[in-house]
């Protein structure tokens, strides 16, 4: 019930394409859903995050779509660029109402390659 399942494991798109990465969770107590971007040899960095009171959040070329009833959320990258080539992780955690505050549960990761 603590797992976050991420798909696909890897993704190749052409420059300008819109890669979509999906995540699913079971624990309805999760109330914070961030996406992290990781380049080789670096630590993960927060890209964008959403809370379940909204169905969509957009920051620049990155959009999170959230479906609370389906317990799914996804990351869309508009007009993808070769510089977006990285590994993307979804994550989930419970907030202030729980003793698990701040404990991020990460998905397995998606390696994205954007071809020029």
């Amino acid at each position: 019930q603590q797992q976050v399942k991420q798909s696909p494991q890897s993704l190749i798109v052409q420059k300008g394409g819109i890669p979509i990465i999906n995540c699913a969770y079971e624990n309805t107590a999760f109330d914070y859903f961030p996406w992290y971007q990781q380049f080789p040899g670096k630590g993960p960095a927060l890209l964008i995050a959403i809370r379940p009171d909204v169905s969509e959040k957009k920051e620049g070329r990155f959009t999170i779509s959230f479906n609370k009833s389906a317990k799914q959320f996804s990351l869309h990258i508009m007009d993808s660029q070769p510089g977006d080539s990285a590994t993307y992780f979804c994550a989930a955690s419970m907030g202030l109402a729980s003793s698990n505050t701040g404990k991020l549960i990460f998905g397995q990761g998606t390696t994205l390659q954007v071809k020029p």
């Binding site: 630590g43 927060l46 990460f106």
Partner: protein, 113 residues
């Protein structure tokens, strides 16, 4: 502003040897995390500190792993003795509060031979 600093970046040791990793969080961040990242996997929490107190160490293998955060600032993660399966990247992260954004260091890559 300096980010989360970790050292060493790389460490190669023989099995059964001890190893220690050091982390200096972002100044003012009271929450510090150690995560384990196996190759091709997402990070998994080992331990979380609120100031000096370890508030979640349920995933830390206490028979061989230990951690400390003296004075509520920098932290050390130790493995003794190391096993082959401990080869991974050990990530340190910090946040301004326990529900805030996590800032990760670049990690310490451990290879156990």
């Amino acid at each position: 502003e300096a980010g989360v600093v970790q050292s060493p970046r790389y460490k190669i040791i023989e099995k059964k040897q001890p190893v220690a990793f050091w982390c200096n969080p972002i100044s003012g961040h009271n929450t510090l995390y150690w995560y384990l990242q196996n190759l091709g996997q997402g990070p998994e929490l080992l331990i979380r500190y609120e100031n000096e107190e370890a508030v979640d160490d349920s995933q830390l293998p206490k028979d061989r792993f230990s951690a400390e955060r003296l004075k509520g600032v920098d932290s050390t993660l130790k493995i003794q003795p190391a096993e082959l399966g401990d080869s991974a990247v050990y990530l340190c992260a910090s946040s301004l509060e326990s529900t805030g954004e996590l800032f990760f260091g670049e990690g310490s890559r451990l290879t156990v031979l």
